[in-house]
Amino acid sequence: MRAMKPERTSPPAPRIYWTLARRRRTATAVRVTFLAVMALLLFGPIVVLAVFSFNRSIVIGFPFRGGTLEWYRAALGETAAWDSLRASLQIALVVTPMCLLLGLLSAFALSRFRFRLRGVTGSFILLPLVIPWLLIGVSGLIFFSLVDVRLSLWTVGVMHVVIAFPLVTALLSAQLVRLDPHIHEASLDLGAGEIETLRHVIIPLLLPTIGASAVFVFSWSFNNFIVSFFTAGFDNTFPIWVFSSLRRARDLPVVNALATLISFVQIVVIVGVWQLLKVRLERRGQDIRDVVAGA
């Protein structure tokens, strides 16, 4: 081989390094772009609506005619809206504990016991998570009219339990499977029966996941439109009220103002609960992302 020029004698390592660095920059750019597009699609419309809820014009669109709280004042006077809101809250408050109980029981059954048809039972319980809600709503409607049950907020509640408790089952059984079985055995070994073990060891260890499940179930129930729509009869939940008001154009800014308000409250509540869980978990040396995202 020929002798190289002095400036080429340095090893090629820096070039490789440079390539890697460039690749890493490209990867970062792709990632940031992706997240930005996602955020825009997800939150863009909500932000736009929120902004227009302060617009003096009755038309939701440009031009912006100056700020006003007029629509919010009108919203306060919409008694039908507030009634539907109260109904939605009541349903969610009943549905959430029901779902937690059913979810806990089914998660235990599926992950702790070996019984015949366990696989079939598991798939059956989790089925509502993959069946379209439209179908569930329509079949609920048909079922209730077949058995001659009058549609009301009660039927809505029942349907919400059906669609939401499998979510709790999924979250909790994933967490139960991850739990070291020796921890359960250690409790028995130290003199605790099964019930005491549940109370002092298993439930406390599941508490973060139970909390996260509660948040999900509550917001699923509170925000659900399609299933409620088919099974509410003459009663209104808040999403149903919103939908029916959309047909009257002059109400649009009022609906918009109310929706903005409700969204804001929900975001505050969920972020609040999240932070609460996070602080409690950190005191126990756990990371909330493991508990929820790991499930």
Binding site: A186, S187, D189, A192, G285
Partner: protein
Amino acid sequence: MNQSPSETTPALELVELSKHFGNVVAVDRISLRVEQGEFFSLLGPSGCGKSTTLRMIAGFEEPTSGRLLLDGQEGSRLPPFKRNTNLVFQSYALFPHMTVRDNVAYGPRRARLSRTEVASRVEDALRTVRMWEYADRLPKALSGGQRQRVALARGLVNHPAVLLLDEPLGALDLKLRREMQIELKEIQRRVGISFVYVTHDQEEALTLSDRIAVMNGGRVEQLGTPEEIYNRPTTRFCADFIGEANLIEVRVGDRSGDGRVSVVLPGGGTALVGSVSPSSADSATATLVLRPSRVALDDKEPPHGAERAAIPVEVRRVIFQGSVVRVDLEGPEGVSLSASTSEADTSDLRVGRRMWAHWAPGETHLVEPTKSGTP
């Protein structure tokens, strides 16, 4: 103390205890007694049924057959929470959401002891394992060795009839393990509780135990004190598993006279042996067990006879192992054996050098030949 009845009944007795998983025989009719205050080890290779035995004693597996007596009472049908035993798990299985104090207090609280009794027992137990300063920490914030101590305290605090330990030091590094071994033995002696200790580390078992049961394939191969097991192995498996051993296939010669047996070594020499295990009692061939540390090397042929046995060898390899040097040798008929020496100067031990390996016949044992019926 004169509580004579409880001091004569063993803390634990297994009678022909078996466990089958489908058609896998995990534990095969083992019988043993663990005396009050004894440090008893189950030693054996992976998969030999040690954990299964321990889990039957703790109540997590139901025996397929056999009896299990705890403090003289039949115990094999009791659920784990009604047994006077505690298990220290290899993974420690500390409750992650409880402080060290609450972990240790868990047992006494389930036993409905008074608040002051719980507090004083917990303090006692944590001081015993030198973890009292860490009482308010969560398990997350402890090192492996510290978690190990807490797991130990969580068992000791209940004053069980037997404390069961499943490879409790398995997750620790060598240095820490050595330290914990000494401490564990010390603690056991102080609290006087019987320990049943599972390990696959023969050195650990020899260091800690009052008695050892060597297990293989679900069965107990040999049961005895560390000295008995090391010095008088009764089976080929035990000789091989415990300590280093040269296993030399020999023909059994003269069995007559004063009960001493002589064997024909490879190359035709004869030698007396120290002891004969029942497993080789009647066979024509047998395995001679010779510890490398007992083998000496010499250039000249030593005088054979009752005091010395010898075979000619050639040096194959010299391996420096720190405190000792291991010399691999090849004898007549291709037999290989090794000698270990702590002599400082081994520079003259060159590969290919012809020497004599010799030993005192009293330090050898005869066990069954390679293909005997033992699985």
